[in-house]
């Protein structure tokens, strides 16, 4: 009996030695502290559950440009989310594999760590749950997460990065989602001319200043806060997408008032993100302002601000010029170049 006990003891010892070995490989993977610009709202609470780390972000950035995410290895996240365009693609509606056209305009990726809702309809509240959607969507990458993992799991560069980011080489769905979200959390844009003016290191031109004043009078009730969106969902009477899959936020919430309502988009880097609207209805900022000025479509749930003001935002031609000058001060040249 003693012998057996001794044998078991030895076995246990052996087993515990084994697991000690893997613990001994310690990797220096420091957290990256997010540089939160002054005046920005609180971080989305999910960020604290997936704090960006040095290698998590590096891995996420590499995955963001990984074309093997798509069934035919032609489309990556960065195919539509192009940095030079504040992570949009200049198409009215996103284009996926085999030229398939998606339902909506590619949204910009910036300051997502501060957003409470993701996508035009706010269907996602946690960024980590989003990357799966384009991977499996027929009009986007048309693949599956296990197909993606099968393609990249034996890649030596990925093995190294997964080990550095997460402690071992296992490529799991959760780690893919987390690292991409970590990368996106670091994409903070707050160094535009507007920000410099706020910090008293630059000043507006006369036209920009006039535009800023008009903006505060006629736009800022929706495009509010330092994010330039109040993150509400509104039907503002834009031309309707007649695709039968489109119902705006109504398809998420089931609330009648949300039918054809979309998230107020941020105006940061708006100069780079044309065309505009949920399915790229407008090619220029001028055409958006002209539309507001001439009048929007009526609807039962048209936003009260429009309903109570003759379904329009009256703007003179000079006001439009100044507004556009102001909106261009929201361009962050470092953000789109780095």
């Amino acid at each position: 009996m003693k012998k057996i006990a001794g044998f078991i003891f030895l076995l246990l010892l052996f087993a515990s030695c084994n697991s000690d070995d893997s613990d001994m490989i310690s990797i220096d993977n420091p957290e990256i502290s997010l540089n939160i610009p002054s005046g920005f709202p609180e971080l989305n609470s999910f960020v604290s559950l997936n704090k960006p780390t040095k290698y998590g972000v590096e891995l996420g950035e590499k995955l963001f440009s990984e074309k093997r995410f798509s069934a035919d290895n032609t489309i990556s996240c960065s195919s539509c989310h192009i940095q030079a365009n504040a992570f949009t693609d200049q198409h009215a509606q996103a284009i996926g594999i085999e030229g398939r056209i998606g339902l909506r305009n590619t949204p910009s990726i910036q300051n997502l760590a501060f957003m409470k809702f993701y996508n035009w309809d706010g269907s996602k509240l946690q960024l980590e749950t989003q990357p799966l959607v384009p991977i499996i969507t027929h009009e986007e990458m048309n693949s599956s997460i296990l197909e993606v993992i099968g393609k990249i799991k034996d890649d030596a560069v990925y093995k190294d990065l997964f080990r550095k980011a997460f402690g071992d080489e296992n490529v799991t769905p959760e780690r893919i989602y987390k690292s991409i979200a970590q990368f996106e959390y670091t994409l903070i844009s707050a160094n535009s001319k507007y920000d410099k003016v706020k910090r008293n290191t630059a000043s507006f031109t006369e036209s920009e200043l006039q535009g800023y004043q008009t903006f505060q009078q006629k736009c800022a009730s929706c495009h509010s806060s330092e994010l330039f969106t109040d993150q509400s969902f509104r039907n503002i009477g834009f031309p309707l997408n007649t695709d039968t899959n489109e119902a705006g936020r109504g398809r998420v919430t089931g609330i009648a008032a949300d039918f054809m309502s979309f998230r107020v988009p941020t105006l940061r880097n708006i100069e780079y993100t044309a065309p505009y609207g949920s399915f790229g209805q407008f090619t220029t900022l001028k055409s958006v302002l002209d539309y507001f000025d001439s009048g929007v479509l009526d609807a039962e749930n048209l936003d009260p601000i429009f309903k109570e003001n003759g379904k329009r935002i009256p703007l003179t031609e000079q006001e439009k010029i100044n507004l556009i000058a102001f909106m261009k001060t929201l361009s962050d040249t470092d953000f789109v170049k780095n």
Binding site: L125, V133, T137
Partner: protein, 288 residues
């Protein structure tokens, strides 16, 4: 070491004993087959294209004639209730082993065999139409088989944008001019159980009394379940008139995805969860 051998021998002997005990005439478990019959009232549905002459047609309370070209739904979270009230769950936490897509175009899918059901007398069956929110995440790594079955090109029971499964998918035609109808249901809830922050939960829990008790033991009973799609438009909760268009009240195309319109169909298919816990389903017989 001599002792060690003795223990080994004893273990082998006891294993042999365990395996012997399942050889008798009263097995500890057996199969139960769920046989689904998809109907309009009492007529089994025959699918067909727009101008099909063989497709089964139905007329709603509102007077709209209609027929289907495609009919699929997901069953999960199956529980059998013993005559003493005890509930016996069937792989309720494993979609690979406990969930299935019923597809009217594939006869094999209409019979779902529950294996290794504990021997007992059962009086009731409970199951879910759709997938519970906590399992409705398209988790391919956890449930690869169900993911593959639901995602197959000829099945298409996924809602990519919602990262969830479609719970029902009915394609067909209505009115005398055979306008297209496309009724899809699925959940859009976000958050965790008890504190959903947005969206609708389209999962419905169904409870059906068996017509006679199902006795699992030496025999493997068959439970016949009818899904009466007449209830889709003429349900216990809602009387629905189909209309085509792009307004928020139009409901015949997937802009049914306006969740408000969708929920009316969900309640007719699977009950409203309170006053109606059977929806379109009923047990028509038990073969022991």
């Amino acid at each position: 070491m001599q002792n060690f051998k003795k223990y080994l021998l004893l273990s082998i002997a006891s294993l042999a004993f365990v395996s012997c005990s399942s050889d008798d005439d009263n097995p500890v478990a057996n199969n139960v087959t769920l046989e689904f019959n998809n109907t309009f009232k009492n007529t089994t549905i025959v699918l067909g294209a727009a101008t099909s002459t063989s497709a089964t047609t139905n007329t709603s309370v509102a007077g709209q004639v209609h027929h289907f070209s495609e009919l699929k739904y997901v069953i999960s979270n199956i529980r059998l209730v013993k005559d003493n009230g005890d509930e016996v769950p069937y792989n309720v936490n494993d979609l690979d082993k406990g969930a299935t897509v019923i597809d009217q175009s594939k006869t094999a899918t209409l019979s779902y065999v529950l294996s290794n059901v504990p021997s007992a007398t059962y009086k009731q069956i409970k199951f879910g139409l759709g997938i519970k929110p906590e399992q409705n995440t398209l988790d391919q790594a956890r449930f690869p088989n169900f993911y593959a079955a639901a995602g197959a090109n000829d099945t298409a029971m996924m809602w990519e944008w919602g990262s969830g499964y479609r719970f029902t998918k009915v394609e067909g035609f209505y009115d005398t001019d055979n306008k297209t109808m496309s009724i899809h249901t699925g959940s859009t809830v976000q958050g965790t159980a008890g504190s959903y922050t947005q969206g609708v939960n389209a999962y419905r829990d169904i409870t059906l009394n068996l017509t006679t008790n199902a006795v699992v033991g030496s025999k493997a009973p068959k439970i016949k379940i009818k899904a009466d799609f007449d209830k889709m438009l003429s349900g216990k909760t809602n009387t629905i008139t189909l209309s085509t268009g792009t307004g928020d009240a139009d409901n015949a195309t997937p802009n049914i995805h306006t969740a408000a319109q969708m929920v009316k169909f969900v309640d007719n298919f699977g009950g409203n969860g309170s006053s109606d816990i059977t929806g379109m389903f009923s047990v028509t017989g038990v073969e022991n």
